[in-house]
Symmetry: C2
Subunit: 189 residues, 2 copies
């Protein structure tokens, strides 16, 4: 039998998709992700903020089917480093993804398995094509929530482990009031 077509209401102002699955990541869920571990610990103990929320509509894992999700990535920093999403490769690494920026300001870090990194700024209307094999992480470089929509193959899956362990070869910081993309001091190729 055929699956039933379905429509979902996306509130572009808030990023919320009605009747979707909500996931919340607090700063305490991101131990080891930020360079300044002292600043991380302090902020977790003080207020343990929500770093991002995801609203996802997902199908069974099957070739040729599609999932989609919005992310609301909140503004904030850990030391000099802007809030970001954990970032991942796809479990099927050759699965691509399309991102559509809806609100706020930020960007995407992408990285090959060998650690070659790219930084792409995002503002409302920016569409990013994430090619097969590139890990991807979004970063909020602004002062309001950064909201975007992502569409990805239903069988892409997530490999968070590689990034959790090694991070990205670049980090995105604020220094002298400017957004800078610099080498990650903890990076080991």
């Amino acid at each position: 039998m055929y699956k039933e077509p379905a429509s979902f209401k996306l509130d572009i102002e808030s990023g919320v998709i009605e009747d979707s699955k909500r996931l919340v990541r607090r700063l305490s869920d991101m131990k080891g992700y930020f360079v300044d571990e002292e600043a991380w610990k302090e902020l977790v103990e003080k207020e343990n903020p929500v770093v991002y929320e995801v609203y996802a509509v997902e199908q069974e894992e099957r070739e040729g089917d599609l999932n989609f999700a919005t992310t609301i990535l909140y503004p904030g920093k850990v030391g000099k480093e802007f809030f970001f999403t954990k970032g991942h490769f796809h479990a099927k690494p050759d699965r691509a993804e399309v991102y559509v920026a809806l609100k706020g300001r930020g960007g995407m870090l992408l990285q090959t398995p060998e650690g070659e990194a790219r930084w792409i700024p995002m503002e409302p209307g920016t569409i990013i094509y994430v090619p097969p094999y590139w890990a991807h992480r979004t970063v909020n470089t602004g002062r309001e929530p950064f909201i975007f929509l992502a569409i990805y193959p239903a069988d892409a899956g997530h490999d968070y482990g590689t990034i959790a362990k090694k991070g990205f070869s670049k980090i995105v910081i604020e220094e002298d009031g400017e957004v800078k993309v610099i080498n990650n001091p903890r990076w080991k190729a």
Copy 2:
């Protein structure tokens, strides 16, 4: 080697994606699609209007890769029937698709290979999940351009032939100032 990540500028007001491939469908390209053939002929001879434009960013046909495109579907009617896109099944019929309505008012007709149809209204913020196997056509039921973004597997392909020949089992018309979805008088199961 890895494909390079890429960003594209979508102008949400106009629907145009910079550095994308543009396709234009005029009414003369849609012979046989509308029920009122006299009205079609008259309008083609009078002004042959653009019915819709597509701005597409497409990859090579490969499993797990993704394409995306905006469509600007203009307001208008042929007889009582609202302007629509040709509509298609996917050549790989089990490929899904995700539509995001950006501007204007309209809806989507969907249909199974057996001719079972659905109508889903669309307004800005509506996301439609098009499941595997369903043909899909969009319809502008408003008075301004109806603009939406679609994301689809790079190996989905298009089967326009079935719809070109048989149409949808439902048509969308204006009658007494109202939008009505009625049985297609020319439909043969």
